[in-house]
Amino acid sequence: MELIPTFDFKSFLTAPWIDGGWESSIWIVIMGILVNTACGLVGNFLVLRKMALVGDAISHSLLPGIAIVFLLSNSRSTGLMVAGALAAGLVTVWLIEFIHKKTRVKEDAALGVTFTTLFAIGVILISVFADHVDLDLECVLYGEIGFIYFDDSLPLIGIEVPWPVLQMAGALLLVTALLLLFYKELLVTSFDSGLATSLGIPVSWAHYGLMMVLSLVIVFSFESVGAILVIAMLIMPSVTSALLSERLPNILRLSVVFAALYSIGGLHLATWLDCSPAGAMVVCGFLLFCLVWLVSPRRGLILLWVKKLKARGQLESPSLP
């Protein structure tokens, strides 16, 4: 018995698409692209606002929100889930600010206090009311992207489209539209909140608006891909793209490209290792990040090494008298 399956390049490339599994594979890839893109686009603005970890916080604190909605309504209806998530997201952001402002606890520490507490409340709710809450903690962490194909589906132009894919596509459209409509406001409040305020642009509205969009993306991604992938995808496309470009519109476009690459690469990795596709997508994201870091034409490691060598050569070459 071997720990890691033998790596065969040909089978690494083809395995997900043969043996009758290709239909399931396609939906995993599509769902992955939708989730990664939605997370990546919102994540760019989080990273620019130096709030990368707020995504982490909100994704954890949504748990009690969703659990309470379950308890109260006893249903898994999307509308209620979204309402619960938005409420939980806003409470999280508000609580972080409240603790930070009222106690002089630093913002990152306030964030640590808030989301761990809310997550714990969620865990308690789910374990105490286990009979009433149809929420699997394992599913919350890892998601069940591998089983999307077996979900309920809707026939659309002759194709059976799984329901979660439709939902996520809708969420992605909404998020993209909102980010495009408020791009100007998000840009100026992220870069120079002082100027934004002086212009009469409501900085706190932009902040809470972004947090609501973030909660929306997280709650839609949650069920199918789990918390791990969501947190990673909020950050990875953005930081990787920023190594390649220095203009926000291009960084946003590159994020979409990386979102797709993570999804496809992750599926292949998952098929080879026979592991969770969500986890594999994150690892694939990190591998791509390392690759870009090495070869980036702007601040890539290889470029820096070459420059260093050249500089050393120039320093040594002129002979001293």
Binding site: L48, K50, R104, L181, F182, Y183, K184, E185, L187, V188, S190, F191, D192, G194, L195, A196, T197, S198, L199, G200, I201, A242, S245, E246, R247, L248, I251
Partner: protein, 262 residues
């Protein structure tokens, strides 16, 4: 004898506190139009805080502010702002043009992107500060002086009537400093009102028509020749003789006529 046109800036009893500790006490101010005004005072005197609280960046605990006779929010379009350079992240992924265009955002409605006209205005403003060739340059590749010129161009693009500038001369090269003061004087000639937070006593007299001496309270406000006196400066800077002795040193170098008495 109320003036026919409302004053650019009128402040009454403005008080600001951080964590319940007051930093500005009961400031009253009536600023006449068409002046280049310097705010002078030691570190921690609340110079930046004053302009920030006028624009609503810092909440005030009492008092009111009127911009051309109306509350700030009603007349935000008529106010231009040059924040301290250090207040933003210069690694932010935008280029020079993107930053200057932000000055147009106040004139655009919700959902509207800057158009051709805004880009032309932004470009003209970059030309005024001699930064047009840098329009497509990523902002992290700018020197301190160039960053300050970009911020000034952005404020020009706001096409305002009242400008607040927070330490625009700090850490810039001499060429940039004289370029900036030339532009500020041009704006004044066109009837604009400019309020500048300034930390250099030696240049204050030649740059400004009026001075506000500030040290948590208003020490004095008036035409430079009335306000720039030894007693009033000492009252503002208190016992901080180091600052005054620095002035003496600089005076020797510059041989300007500072009101230092034996």
């Amino acid at each position: 004898m109320s003036p026919e046109t409302p004053l650019p800036l009128e402040i009454h009893d403005l008080t600001v506190a951080y964590h319940k500790k007051p930093v500005l006490y009961g400031i009253d101010l009536e600023v006449p139009a068409g002046n280049l005004i310097g705010i002078l005072g030691p570190n921690g005197a609340g110079k930046s805080t004053l302009i920030k609280s006028i624009m609503g960046l810092v909440p005030s605990s009492s008092g009111w502010v009127k911009i051309f006779g109306k509350p700030y929010k009603k007349n935000a379009k008529r106010v231009g702002y040059v924040p301290q350079r250090e207040s933003v992240d210069w690694d932010f992924p935008v280029n020079v043009m993107d930053v200057v265009l932000m000055g147009r955002f106040g004139h655009l409605g919700l959902f509207r992107r800057p158009g051709r006209k805004d880009k032309d205005i932004a470009m003209a403003c970059l030309e005024k500060v001699n930064m047009a060739p840098y329009a497509q340059r990523q902002i992290s590749n700018l020197s301190g002086g160039q960053q300050q010129r970009v911020f000034l161009a952005r404020a020009l693009a706001q096409e305002s009537d009242l400008y607040f500038l927070d330490e625009p001369f700090s850490g810039v090269d001499a060429a940039t400093e004289s370029a900036i003061i030339k532009i500020l004087k041009e704006l004044r000639e066109r009837g604009k009102t400019l309020i500048v937070v300034h930390h250099d006593l030696t240049t204050a007299k030649e740059y400004f028509d009026m001075l506000l001496l500030l040290n948590m309270r208003k020490v004095d406000f008036g035409p430079t020749e009335d306000v720039y006196t030894y007693e009033k400066l000492q009252k503002t800077y208190g016992g901080r003789l180091t600052i005054l002795s620095e002035v003496v040193d600089t005076r020797r170098k510059r041989s300007s006529d500072l009101p230092i008495e034996k």
